[in-house]
């Protein structure tokens, strides 16, 4: 029943990893020489994560995953 909760954990972990490698760590001043081409994907991750939090709330309210997906109009695909 809680498949979506597992999915949200995966999204969350992905987001946490990207946040760390892209925004934290030792910085070479003036020598950071590449840019990350698909940075937008990080923001897609944020939206999915927030959507998953709402999904968790609905699951807690006793709705089945199928009902939640129908209401949200989402799929499990990332």
């Amino acid at each position: 029943m809680y498949d979506n909760v597992v999915d949200s954990s995966r999204d969350m972990t992905l987001l946490e990893v990207l946040d760390r490698v892209l925004n934290k760590g030792v910085i070479l001043v003036g020598d950071l020489v590449i840019s990350v081409a698909d940075i937008d994907l990080v923001y897609v991750g944020v939206k999915l994560m927030l959507s998953s939090v709402e999904t968790m709330e609905q699951l807690k309210d006793g709705k089945t995953p199928a009902e939640v997906k129908r209401i949200a109009g989402t799929s499990d695909e990332f």
Binding site: M12, V21, G25, S35
Partner: protein, 254 residues
């Protein structure tokens, strides 16, 4: 035919504490692989070493999959050594440049490495829908409404009164977030952990924190957050880790 190969530059993964001989580090790294199964190489100065891989910067694909692979390499090396992760995309032209950078920043790196030695980073996000929490707070402890007299019942006064109530609810939400932060801080104090905590990071994230704890305190932290989750079932505590100390690097490179 063009025999000119693009120059190979050095992608640095991490700076690590290496109290043993460089040869041992070389041996450990030879059992691991970098991004795209490339070799990992060490360069050392004093008690610190940099781990890097050779890549052509022009051919380097800086995308999400590679960023995750980069994090994977750091995780793997962190199983064996205390390290400071480099930010993704940190290239230097030559190994001599890396050696020079290590030499110039040796003390700063060493100081930071000793600070994070035998420690793990954990992340904690506390999720909740602020609107729902406000509704809950309003229902459980209603905000006092000052009754309006006939003269005061103008549209303006009603508007001001509503705004005032909204402001009071906002204050209660902040107080609620403060309570959660205080509870977390109390546990962290017992563990003598270093922490960075942000309150109301967004409408959904009531608390966004990172902690640096001793490796043997991992279960204690998990238990503490588990206890908080039981105490506050209306919000969601998500703990991630253990991570290398990404959020506890404070080096100003020379």
């Amino acid at each position: 035919m063009n025999f000119n190969k693009p120059p190979m530059e050095k992608l640095i993964y991490a700076i690590l504490l290496n109290k043993s001989e460089t040869d041992n580090l070389q041996q450990v790294l030879s059992g691991m692989a970098g991004i795209d199964k490339t070799a990992l190489n060490p360069i050392s100065f004093g008690q610190i070493s940099a781990v890097y891989g050779n890549f052509s910067k022009s051919d380097f694909a800086a995308n999400q999959a590679v960023a995750i692979a980069f994090a994977g390499v750091i995780d793997e090396v962190a199983k064996h050594y205390t390290l400071l992760p480099m930010r993704f995309g940190s290239f230097m032209k030559t190994s001599d440049d890396i050696a020079k950078m290590l030499e110039q920043n040796h003390d700063g790196f060493l100081q930071n490495l000793e600070k994070v030695e035998n420690k793990f980073e954990f992340g904690l996000k506390v999720f909740g829908d602020s609107t729902k929490i406000q509704e809950h707070l309003k229902a459980t402890t209603p905000v006092e409404e000052k009754p309006l007299s006939e003269n005061e019942g103008s549209k303006f006064k009603i508007y001001v009164n509503k705004k005032l109530q909204a402001h009071r609810l906002e204050e209660r939400l902040l107080t609620f977030a403060d309570t959660i932060v205080a509870e977390i801080t109390q546990y962290l104090k017992q563990m003598e952990a270093t922490s960075k905590i942000r309150k109301m990071a967004s409408e959904y994230i009531l608390v966004d924190g990172v902690f640096l704890i001793k490796k043997n305190q991992q279960q204690q932290l998990v238990d503490a957050i588990g206890a908080l989750q039981k105490q506050y079932p209306e919000i969601k505590f998500v703990l991630t880790g253990p991570w290398p100390p990404y959020n506890f690097v404070e080096v100003k490179l020379k």
